[in-house]
């Protein structure tokens, strides 16, 4: 029974992936990608990767989907012209050839993986007591491979700087994104008033549960960011100008706390990002607490886009 369900899920995933690639309409392709992300979430649940499933649903399906829909809306005016252009036979043949070679190379890589696959899972399980958190994913992300997580947060910050740098000169330092106006008595304003309190609690719960259960700062921060975006889209609050001091401080606070704790570890525990004996849990909680608001700010502002409305002096 379960095998039948899994086979159906895999077939649906493949069919939807093919449909998303083949769809000529950009909006349809974006919607296909979101549905694909939700199906992929189910696949990760079936593989018992609940942490990955949560991240896929929040970031892969939700956030990236919203980003793509925003991109589709911006491209709408040029889409007809772009679709009218038909690349010549050689370039299409070349594209098909390159895509085919990449697919074959990936398939060969996957099929030649040694069986059983090389794994560090037993070592993580043996040393998890040192990290003092119950969820092995959190232990890997914040104790054993903390460097990766730090660089991930910094990469996101760079991505936001990249988006902001697309601002026209006159709008630099101004408010990002378009001004949203919605009916103050309409359904969007209503949901933007009702949902955020619930969303904040769910986000904080997922963040807090991440120490011992699936969850964590990334998934929690995505939900918090989504609530903020909802409030902005309903026109209840405008996006802050990117020149605001509190905003910039909030954006660097997480990585700075992470680096400071890492440097303190170099002095007290003998290695960068090492935690002194007995202090692992409070330090991990401190890093996560500092990273969560930073991530929520970055993820929401990535979606809002580049500054485009100058602030009157």
């Amino acid at each position: 029974m379960m095998a039948l369900l899994n086979a159906g899920l895999a077939l649906l995933l493949l069919a939807l992936a093919a449909w998303t690639i083949a769809a000529r309409d950009a909006f349809a392709a974006a919607v296909g990608f979101i549905a694909y992300g939700l199906l992929l979430t189910l696949a990760w649940v079936q593989l018992s990767g609940i942490d990955v499933a949560l991240t896929e649903a929040a970031i892969g399906g939700g956030l990236t989907g919203a980003l793509l829909i925003g991109a589709v809306a911006r491209l709408r005016s040029t889409e007809a012209a772009a679709r009218a252009e038909r690349p010549g036979a050689p370039s299409r043949l070349l594209a098909a050839l390159v895509a085919g070679v990449v697919t074959v190379a990936l398939a060969i890589c996957v099929l030649t993986l040694p069986d059983p696959a090389p794994t560090l899972a037993p070592e993580v399980a043996a040393n998890i007591a040192a990290a003092a958190v119950g969820n092995p994913i959190t232990a890997v992300l914040l104790a054993f491979r903390a460097m990766d997580t730090l660089l991930e947060a910094i990469v996101l910050l760079f991505a936001l700087i990249g988006v902001w740098s697309l601002a026209p000169d006159r709008a630099w330092g101004g408010r990002p994104g378009p001004l949203h106006r919605a009916d103050p008595n309409g359904i969007l304003a209503y949901i933007a008033r009702v949902l955020p309190p619930i969303g904040l609690i769910v986000g904080m719960y997922i963040f807090w549960a991440g120490a011992d259960h699936p969850g964590g700062k990334f998934q929690g921060a995505t939900i918090v960011a989504a609530m903020w975006l909802l409030v902005m889209m309903a026109g209840l609050a405008d996006a802050p100008p990117v020149s605001r001091k509190w905003l910039r401080l909030g954006l660097v606070a997480g990585p700075l706390v992470f680096i400071a704790i890492g440097l303190a570890g170099a002095v007290s525990a003998g290695a960068f990002l090492a935690y002194p004996e007995g202090y692992a849990k409070p330090l991990i909680v401190a890093i996560e607490l500092a990273l969560m608001p930073t991530l929520a700010l970055i993820l929401a502002l990535l979606l809002v886009g580049a500054p485009q409305r100058p602030v009157p002096p």
Partner: protein, 97 residues
């Protein structure tokens, strides 16, 4: 007692699945946006509600049951809001519909 609860689960989940099936058929067969929305919201509201009702006797603990009910209420809220927004967008595009 447990037979009655199992019967409730089977009846409620099958009824819920029927609503999802009917909603999907409606989504594929109905002629315009508004009737399709009507079919879709029935699946969300009644279908998911019946599935949740059917699962309730089998959760361990009151808290897990409350979580299931909370999920159903959140889906009700979001599907009601989303269908209103879709309907409004459809009317703005084609006021005669």
């Amino acid at each position: 007692m447990s037979f009655a609860l199992n019967l409730l689960t089977i009846v409620a989940v099958v009824a819920g699945a029927f609503f999802f099936l009917a909603g999907t058929v409606g989504l594929l067969r109905f002629p315009d946006t508004f009737t399709r929305l009507h079919a879709l919201t029935k699946a969300d509201n009644l279908g998911l509600g019946l599935v949740v009702l059917g699962l309730l006797p089998h959760v361990d603990g009151v808290l897990a049951g409350l979580k299931l009910i909370a999920i159903w209420l959140l889906v009700l809220l979001s599907s009601a809001a989303a269908s209103q927004l879709v309907a409004r967008a459809a009317r703005q595009r084609d006021p005669d519909a």
